[in-house]
Symmetry: C2
Subunit: 187 residues, 2 copies
Amino acid sequence: MKSSAEIKTTILETAGRLFYSQGYNSTGINQVIDEAGIARASLYNHFKSKSDLLYAYLEELDEKWFDQLHVQIDKIKDPKEKIIGLFEFRLKRQANSQYAGCPFIKVSAEVPADDSKAFELINKNKMKFKQLIEQLVQDIPAHAQLSTAELADTLYMLIEGATVTAAFQKNKSMMTAAKSIAAKLLG
Amino acid sequence: MKSSAEIKTTILETAGRLFYSQGYNSTGINQVIDEAGIARASLYNHFKSKSDLLYAYLEELDEKWFDQLHVQIDKIKDPKEKIIGLFEFRLKRQANSQYAGCPFIKVSAEVPADDSKAFELINKNKMKFKQLIEQLVQDIPAHAQLSTAELADTLYMLIEGATVTAAFQKNKSMMTAAKSIAAKLLG
DNA sequence: TTTAAGATAGACAAGTCTGTCTATCTATTT
DNA sequence: AAATAGATAGACAGACTTGTCTATCTTAAA
């Protein structure tokens, strides 16, 4: 028998993998139980509903996501290169997932309009990412046409726009275009 | 009794409204039948499966979408203002749908990864939109940092990035920011 | 006027969904 | 050693899913 903590981890890993690759609505509790190899009651002991499992997934993903991002960019010193590293991080994630798209955006498109908790968690992740961009842009010298805040907004939207596009084009072309545009905007 | 053509129109209207507001996976054939007020066999007479109904919805939406866009921007003469009109078109659509997001992106996030037909239809719509931007940018005089193609890409990603963000923020702030950035980039 | 297409209502199959419940077993804590 | 927490398997309810089928009715064309 596995321990309580191990079970919770296994459930979250399995559910996260399935939610991302198949979609939240297309993934049934039964499949999570089967693939996690745990008992039905164990899942409902740790999570009171499927929605609760979704929220836990989003929270856990937020942590993991930034952890992995920092592993990639913390070693970079040059501020401009650090920002370019954000694009490379997304490029890497896309290739690894075979262009499954951003997991947060996917959930955003799937949950009903009144699931404010889901939208809050998604917004929290995205605004944290935007704030990181804003911080990094502070260290960049004056820009021709755009204010610092506008440059940060532009970089954020380049990344998000390229990510959704990659999700249906199933290739990296838009993100590499975004990256080279960013390099030019950063001067 | 309604005519065959009327029925098909009613089905598409009803399915489209429900697919967009509730999501494709969360909308059952039974609900479409009930709300359209038609017989079950009539639906399966016009569309051989739920997937087929989705494809017809995407094709019809593509037409309607560009029709509405052209109603808004064809009267504008100034090339820069025409491009700003694209942002205003999206702003209007978002407000009208209470920030339900882009219907194409929503489907892109919901369908299984092997539904290449859906991804093709979505890509067709988005690339047509991007090509329109590219045409409009041709008429804009030289830009400081970016090439014509890069400016078009940037505008496209600003709009798409702002749209997905609006879908979870449920407000227009990101799209208005994108619009004023676009105005600056256009000089 | 006969024929044929396509509308109608509704039963049905075979499966899925979420969440609850019982009953039993095991491991840890008191 | 007894008690408790939490694991297990699996039945179950009740609703929902897509797609097919029968049987009847209405309209339009031949």
